[in-house]
């Protein structure tokens, strides 16, 4: 029995990082209706910036982490400005966005390999690699801190979307971008804010992943799992992204543990396919015809 609870804790810890990534994915999807695969580049940007700032001891770690997330947020704005805005100006379909985002993610991963190198880099140990024990279960201190960071950022995001004017504009744009722009919302500014937030969340996820699993150019490939979490929860829905990701983490852990570690991905993806057949809009998603 205690193994089951331990596996749920393992799953929650894996899922909480997926959630941080998936929320950014979903936010962009809810407005532009395309899957932004360049999200992995934002994540790598955050992971490497955080690594260099912390390992060079230029500033206190917390400040370094904050700065890393800001850098990846600005990077996201940069990508939006120079890759997506031209497509939007020409009235491109969502397919063009997807191709552009795929191109960016492949380009950026290889750029990192060429410019920085493919070596694994380990964050200086900020926290002891220890676990808190209770009732025969173990929860890693690192996981608790990471989950804490994830929760704080998600609450801040919720507050921002619900209580501020820009947040309201974002929700309106998510409902209908064209109508929102007719109502006097500055779409370009709004999208910059959305990408800033998405980059911010990807950056913090990058730092968390870097601390937990070391930094390397292919770290961004974990966003695939977060993407699946977002689909499971319902693309475009933020609570859905969180619930879907956490569910995915727990399902993965329990499948590997109790069914078969060899067949884990096979079973997890089978579940995903079944969910999509039974509930095409995911657990909490809004129904849309044009799902990617």
């Amino acid at each position: 029995m205690s193994t089951l609870f331990q596996q749920i804790i393992n799953g929650l810890s894996i899922g909480s990082v997926y959630a941080l990534i998936a929320v950014g994915y979903s936010l962009v999807y809810s407005i532009l209706s395309f899957s932004n695969f360049a999200h992995s580049s934002f994540l790598i940007m955050g992971a490497y910036t955080g690594f260099f700032l912390i390992s060079t001891n230029l500033m206190p770690p917390l400040l370094a982490i904050l700065l890393a997330t800001i850098v990846s947020g600005l990077f996201a704005i940069f990508i939006e400005r120079f890759a997506y805005r031209p497509i939007r100006a020409k009235g491109g379909k969502s397919l063009y966005y997807i191709i552009a985002s795929l191109g960016i993610s492949i380009f950026f991963e290889n750029f990192v390999v060429a410019a920085i190198g493919a070596n694994y880099r380990t964050y200086p140990s900020l926290l002891p690699y220890k676990a808190i024990k209770f009732w025969g279960l173990r929860v890693s201190i690192l996981d608790l801190v990471c989950a804490g960071i994830a929760i704080i950022f998600l609450i801040l995001l919720e507050f921002f979307l619900k209580r501020t004017k820009v947040g309201m504009a974002i929700r309106a744009a998510a409902f209908d971008l064209t109508t929102a722009s007719l109502m006097g919302v500055n779409v370009n500014f709004l999208l910059s804010v959305v990408f800033l937030i998405a980059g911010f969340l990807a950056g913090i996820a990058g730092v968390v992943l870097g601390i937990k699993y070391t930094v390397y150019p292919q770290l961004g490939s974990l966003t695939t799992k977060a993407f699946i979490g977002a689909i499971l929860g319902g693309l475009g829905s933020l609570p859905g992204a969180i619930i879907g990701s956490v569910c995915l983490g727990v399902i993965e852990a329990c499948t590997a543990a109790f069914i078969s570690s060899q067949l884990r991905d096979l079973i997890v993806f089978l579940i995903l396919i079944i969910v999509l057949i039974v509930r095409p809009h995911g657990i909490m998603g809004v129904y849309v015809d044009d799902k990617v």
């Binding site: 596996q7 699993y213 070391t214 543990a257």
Partner: protein
């Protein structure tokens, strides 16, 4: 029009034929070195390539071979089979290489073996340990593929015997990479031998390359309470697995694995790896190995991969001596010379090649242990029944 096309085509054929055969007897003798210069395996590939160039410089300073200089043509596998095949094809077509040395990954050498066979040039791997590197599934030998290190069946036996007979361990669990020839093979050979000795493998858990969280598998392993965690995987995964295993409470479990280990992992999980055991091919305390290692560290950015440095050095001298003894760079003659090596002098002793398997005879293994920031030599070990 047709005639013009034929004429152009014929000229093209003549030119390319001339470039292949024309360069055969003048200029430097070109030897390809296949290694991972980008990707996670570059910790091994970069030292191997540097060492190969260092050895070639030494040979050239001493007058070269057959009155010609030798030149190392570096080929980057980029840590994957598809890029390795392209790199070898390119070097064969454009550089007229006479042999391929490296790499240290089985999957890559299995993929490139057909390219070398087609071009009729021998390939000698550095540390590709899977059986299939030199032999086909039906047991017949791949004529152009060789190695001068031990194989995974032997390595699996060493791990099983050392754990059972020397450390007295009776129960073990294995966590392996399901997508790797090396890892799945070594798991099987370990289990066969460990069971034969009366030990018990309590379970085998798999993961897929690219995974970073192993706690679901490790939690299950922990619940079986094995005395040993055997991890036949490579260093980045080792460091993450061991860190997570210790964190979950696997404090006293003995950890052991094969030659996928690297001192680089001690920078990633130093405290958690202390006391773990690893199998390697040569000892850092062997004066010949240590001498080459020291030469390397004086010339290049110091590296802890002494075994790969030693091997690249051995291979370049080996192929140079073979070509010298053969008196030609003809592929078939060199291939025969390697195949029939008997007590042939190489850097650290004598090499005898088994013509039926293209594997060396009598290669022993060394056991290393993680102590402080290094993998320290424990003992030279050959399992005895």
């Amino acid at each position: 029009m047709k005639r013009v096309a034929i004429a152009i085509f014929a000229t093209f054929i003549l030119i390319s034929a001339a470039s292949v055969y024309g360069a055969d007897t003048t200029g430097p003798i070109k030897i390809g070195y296949l290694a991972h210069l980008t990707g996670d395996a570059s910790v091994w590939g970069i030292p191997e390539t540097n060492t190969a160039k260092m050895a070639a410089e030494e040979i050239n300073a001493a007058g070269g071979i057959l009155g010609r200089k030798i030149e190392i043509v570096s080929m980057d596998s980029r840590s994957n089979a598809a890029d390795a095949v392209n790199a070898v094809k390119k070097a064969v077509a454009e550089q007229n290489i006479v042999a391929v040395l490296g790499s240290n990954w089985s999957g890559i050498n299995i993929a490139t073996s057909s390219v070398c066979a087609e071009a009729k040039i021998p390939q000698i791997s550095s540390y590709a340990t899977a059986v299939k590197v030199t032999m086909n599934d039906d047991g017949s030998v791949r004529p152009w593929a060789f190695r001068t290190c031990f194989m995974d069946p032997y390595q699996g036996k060493v791990i099983a015997y050392y754990l059972n007979k020397e450390l007295g361990k009776k129960t073990a669990a294995v966590l392996y990479d399901i997508g790797s020839d090396y890892s799945t093979g070594l798991t099987q050979y370990f289990e066969d031998n460990f069971t034969k000795l009366g030990g018990k493998v309590l379970g085998k858990w798999a993961y897929k390359a690219g995974d970073v969280d192993f706690r679901p598998q490790l939690t299950q392993i922990l619940s079986k309470k094995p005395e040993v965690l055997m991890i036949p995987i490579t260093y980045k995964d080792i460091s993450l697995v061991v860190r997570q295993a210790r964190e979950l409470g696997m404090e006293d479990t003995v950890i052991m694995g094969g030659d996928g280990a690297s001192p680089a992992m001690l920078a990633m999980a130093g405290p958690e790896l202390q006391g773990s055991y690893w199998v390697k091919h040569v000892s850092p305390e062997d004066p010949i190995v240590a001498g080459i290692w020291k030469k390397y560290d004086a010339k290049y950015k110091p590296s802890g991969e002494y075994a790969n440095i030693y091997k690249a050095y051995e291979l370049v001298y080996f192929i140079a001596d073979i070509i010298k003894a053969s008196g030609t760079t003809n592929g078939e003659t060199i291939r025969k010379a390697i195949e029939n090596c008997k007590d042939f002098k190489i850097a650290d002793g004598l090499l005898t090649m088994d013509p039926k398997t293209h594997n060396p005879l009598n290669k022993s293994a060394v056991i290393l242990q993680a102590v402080g920031k290094e993998l320290k030599f424990v003992t030279k070990y050959a399992p005895v029944d």
